[in-house]
C-alpha cells in the first residue's frame, strides 16, 4: 500500500540531493550518543578512584556524599610513596615489564619476519599455530605451568617459584603469540618487491629485517610494544599464583595483598595505589597514541 503511494508520488517528488549528508548527520548523532554513554561508563570508575584517594579513612567510612571530597588530603599518596614496600612493588613491576617487553620484541619480530617472508616447510601452519596458542586463556595454563616450574625446581634445584623473575618466563606465553601475530599482519602489508629490491641490493635476511622491515613497520612495532607492556603491567593471575613473599610481588598483586588485611580494606590507599599503577600505561598511551592507532589500522589502506 505504502510502496504504491510512493511510486505514484515518484515523478512529482523532488530529488533529495542532500540525502547523503542527512545520512551522515544521523550517523554522527548516534555515534555521539553511544560514545558519550561509553565515555561516562568507562570514566566513572577512575574518577571515583581519584575522589576516594583524596579522602581520609574517616571520611570514606562517614555517611557523606561519596562523590564529593569535603576534606581533601594527600596523606594516602604520601604514605604510599614513602613506603618501601610500595616502591618495591613498583620496581618489581617495572623490571618485569621492561624485560618482558624486550624479550617479547626480540622473539616476535624475527619470528613474524620468518613466518611472513621466509617461506619454509610448514611456515603457514606454524603461523596459525602461534595464533592458536594465544586463544588458550591463562586461567587454564597457570596450573600446568606451576607444576612445570615445580618439577624443574625438583630436578635441577633451580627454584623459580616465588621469585619475581619467574614472571619473565610466564608473561611471554601471553605476549609473544599476540605480538607475533600483529607483526605478521604488518609485515604482510609490505610489498614483496621491497625485500626483493633489498636482496638484490645485497642485503642479507637480517639486514632486510633491521634496515627495511623494522623502520617501515615501526607503527606496528610500537603497537605491539604497547600491547606487551600493558599485558605485563596489568597481569594479575600469574603473579598471584607464582609469587607470595612481599618483596617479590608486583604492583597489582602487591596492592591487593598488603592493603587488604583480613576483612579490613584500606580503601584510600588501594585507590591511590591503583591510580599510581595506572599512570605509566596512561602516559605511554598518551605519547604513542598516534602510532598506536596507525598500528591498529595498518593494512586498512595502502600508502
Amino acid at each position: 500500500m505504502s510502496t504504491l503511494a510512493i511510486d505514484k508520488a515518484g515523478p512529482t517528488r523532488k530529488v533529495k540531493y542532500g540525502s547523503m549528508s542527512r545520512d551522515r548527520t544521523w550517523a554522527l548523532r548516534w555515534s555521539y550518543f553511544f560514545l558519550t554513554i561509553f565515555a561516562i561508563f568507562s570514566l566513572v570508575p577512575p574518577i571515583y578512584m581519584l575522589i576516594t584517594s583524596l579522602k581520609s579513612s574517616a571520611e570514606i567510612s562517614a555517611a557523606t556524599n561519596p562523590w564529593w571530597v569535603f576534606h581533601p588530603t594527600l596523606s594516602n599518596y604520601v604514605e604510599l610513596l614513602t613506603s618501601n614496600q610500595f616502591l618495591r612493588f613498583f620496581w618489581n613491576s617495572a623490571m618485569v615489564s621492561i624485560f618482558v617487553v624486550t624479550l617479547t620484541m626480540l622473539i616476535s619480530v624475527p619470528a613474524a619476519f620468518a613466518l611472513s617472508r621466509m617461506k619454509f616447510w610448514g611456515s603457514a601452519t606454524l603461523a596459525t599455530g602461534v595464533f592458536l596458542t594465544y586463544l588458550i586463556p591463562d586461567s587454564l595454563l597457570f596450573l600446568p605451568l606451576f607444576k612445570m616450574f615445580a618439577v624443574i625446581g625438583d630436578w635441577t634445584g633451580i627454584q623459580l617459584i616465588n621469585k619475581w623473575y619467574v614472571l619473565l618466563f610466564l608473561y611471554p606465553t601471553l605476549t609473544v603469540p599476540f605480538c607475533t601475530w600483529i607483526m605478521i599482519g604488518y609485515f604482510a602489508s609490505i610489498p614483496k618487491e621491497l625485500d626483493e629490491a633489498a636482496i638484490i641490493d645485497g642485503a642479507s635476511w637480517f639486514q632486510t629485517l633491521t634496515r627495511i622491515f623494522i623502520p617501515v613497520a615501526l607503527p606496528g612495532l610500537i603497537a605491539a610494544t604497547i600491547f606487551a607492556f600493558t599485558v605485563s603491567w596489568a597481569q594479575f593471575l600469574y603473579p598471584l599464583v607464582f609469587t607470595t613473599s612481599t618483596d617479590q610481588l608486583v604492583m597489582p598483586v602487591g596492592i591487593i595483598t598488603t592493603l587488604i588485611k583480613g576483612d579490613v580494606f584500606n580503601w584510600g590507599q588501594i585507590m591511590t595505589g591503583a591510580l599510581l599503577g595506572a599512570a605509566p600505561p596512561l602516559l605511554i598511551y598518551a605519547f604513542l597514541m598516534d602510532y598506536y592507532i596507525a598500528g591498529l589500522t595498518a593494512g586498512a589502506t595502502k600508502g
Binding site: 626483493e196 629490491a197 633489498a198 641490493d201 645485497g202
Partner: protein
C-alpha cells in the same frame, strides 16, 4: 658489463610449466626486451636471471659464469620493479645509495656516484625527499637511479612503465633509451606492451606460453614474423588474418579470398608460394597500412576492391576503417580525406607485395 646466456631454462611450479626450455643469448651492451601476453613466462624468466626464482632445469650464465646457485646479491645485477619498490623511510639519496652502503663503499665514492646518477636522471633537486613526496615518474627515475649507481653487469627491468599514465610512459621510454645510450649496460627488459618493446629494443624476444616464438630486431619481427602469434602480436592495430587458398588461373597463381575476391599474386610472391599445395587451408596476413584507399593508379601487386565500411575511427593523421569480409573483421588505414564514413561504400586497395601467407593449421608463416 657482460653477456647473459640462457640454456634450456625450465621453470616448473608443482605441475605447471611456466617456462618451457628457452635458449637466449644476450650480447654485451645489448638491450633485449622480452615481450608477450600475461602468463607467457617473461617475468619468470627475468626473475630467474635475477635469482629471485630458482631454476628447475637448464643453465643461466652472466659474464660467462653459470649463476644457477649464486644468490642475487652476488650476481652483480640491478633490477627496476613495476611498483618502484623504493624504501619508503629513506630519502632519494639513501634509496639510491643503499646497495653501496651495504657493500661499505667509501663515502666520497657513494656521494659522487649518487650525484652523477641524479644528474643523469634530472632528479638532483629531489635528492633529499622521501618517496611519498614524489610523483610516479619521479619515483621510477629514482628506481632507475638506484640501479645505475650500482654500476652492475646487467640491468633488469620488470614492466617499469606499466604504472605510469600513457603520456608519461612515452616520456620515460625515451629517458630509458637515453640512459642506455650513456651507460651501455646490458639490459633485459620485460613488458607486455609491444610498442615499448619495438621502440626500446635492440632485439625483441617474443614469448608465448612459456616458449620463445621469435627473436629478432624490431623491424625483422614486424616485416618478417615467423608465426601467426608474432604477426598478430607485433603492430597496432593488429595484422588482419583472412582465410584463403591458392588457385591457378591461366597458368598464374591467384589468391582466392572469397567467392567475390580473387587476386593475382605479384611475380615475386607467386614464385615464393609456388610449392604450397593448392588444397592447403591458408591465412592471408595483411597489415592495416597495406589496406588503403584506392588512388586510381595501378601499381604492380596492388589490387583494388569495393567494400562497405562498418565503422570508421578518425585518428587525425589517418582514419582507421573496419569492414567485414566473410564474417571476419578487417582493419585498414586510409587518408583522412579519402571520404570514409560509417556505413558508406569505399574503394580500397590491398598491397599484396607486403602480404604474408600463413598455414592455418600450424600458424607458421610461409
Amino acid at each position: 658489463m657482460a653477456e647473459v646466456n640462457l640454456r634450456k631454462v625450465v621453470k616448473r611450479y608443482d605441475d605447471v610449466e611456466a617456462v618451457r626450455g628457452i635458449d637466449l643469448d644476450i650480447a654485451d651492451h645489448e638491450f633485449v626486451v622480452l615481450v608477450g601476453p600475461s602468463g607467457c613466462g617473461k617475468s619468470t624468466t627475468l626473475r630467474m636471471i635475477a635469482g629471485l626464482e630458482d631454476i628447475t632445469d637448464g643453465d643461466i650464465s652472466i659474464g660467462g659464469d653459470v649463476v644457477n646457485d649464486v644468490p642475487p646479491k652476488d650476481r652483480d645485477i640491478a633490477m627496476v620493479f613495476q611498483n618502484y619498490a623504493l624504501y619508503p623511510h629513506m630519502t632519494v639519496a639513501e634509496n639510491m645509495s643503499f646497495g653501496l652502503r651495504l657493500k661499505h663503499y667509501p663515502k666520497a665514492e657513494i656521494k659522487s656516484r649518487v650525484t652523477e646518477a641524479a644528474r643523469m636522471l634530472d632528479i638532483t633537486d629531489l635528492i633529499d625527499r622521501k618517496p611519498k613526496q614524489l610523483s610516479g615518474g619521479q619515483r621510477q627515475r629514482v628506481a632507475m637511479g638506484r640501479a645505475i649507481v650500482r654500476n652492475p653487469k646487467v640491468f633488469l627491468f620488470d614492466e617499469p612503465l606499466s604504472n605510469l599514465d600513457a603520456k608519461l610512459r612515452v616520456q620515460m621510454r625515451i629517458e630509458i633509451k637515453k640512459v642506455h645510450q650513456k651507460v651501455r649496460t646490458t639490459t633485459v627488459y620485460v613488458t607486455h606492451d609491444q610498442v615499448e618493446a619495438m621502440t626500446l629494443a635492440d632485439r625483441v624476444v617474443v614469448m608465448n606460453k612459456g616458449k620463445i616464438e621469435q627473436i629478432g630486431t624490431p623491424n625483422e619481427l614486424y616485416h618478417k614474423p615467423a608465426t601467426r602469434f608474432v604477426a598478430g602480436f607485433i603492430g597496432s592495430p593488429a595484422m588482419n588474418f583472412l582465410p584463403c587458398r591458392l588457385e591457378e588461373v591461366g597458368g598464374k597463381l591467384n589468391l582466392r579470398l572469397t567467392d567475390r575476391f580473387s587476386f593475382p599474386l605479384p611475380p615475386v610472391r607467386a614464385a615464393q608460394y609456388q610449392s604450397v599445395p593448392r588444397s592447403e587451408k591458408l591465412l592471408l596476413g595483411i597489415r592495416p597500412e597495406h589496406l588503403t584507399e584506392a588512388n586510381g593508379h595501378a601499381a604492380p601487386g596492388v589490387e583494388n576492391f569495393e567494400t562497405v565500411l562498418d565503422v570508421t575511427e578518425p585518428m587525425g593523421m589517418e582514419t582507421l576503417v573496419y569492414f567485414t569480409l566473410e564474417g571476419t573483421q578487417v582493419c585498414g588505414r586510409v587518408d583522412p580525406n579519402a571520404g570514409a564514413r560509417d556505413g558508406a561504400p569505399l574503394r580500397l586497395a590491398v598491397d599484396l607485395n607486403n602480404m604474408h601467407l600463413l598455414n592455418e593449421g600450424t600458424g607458421a608463416v610461409l
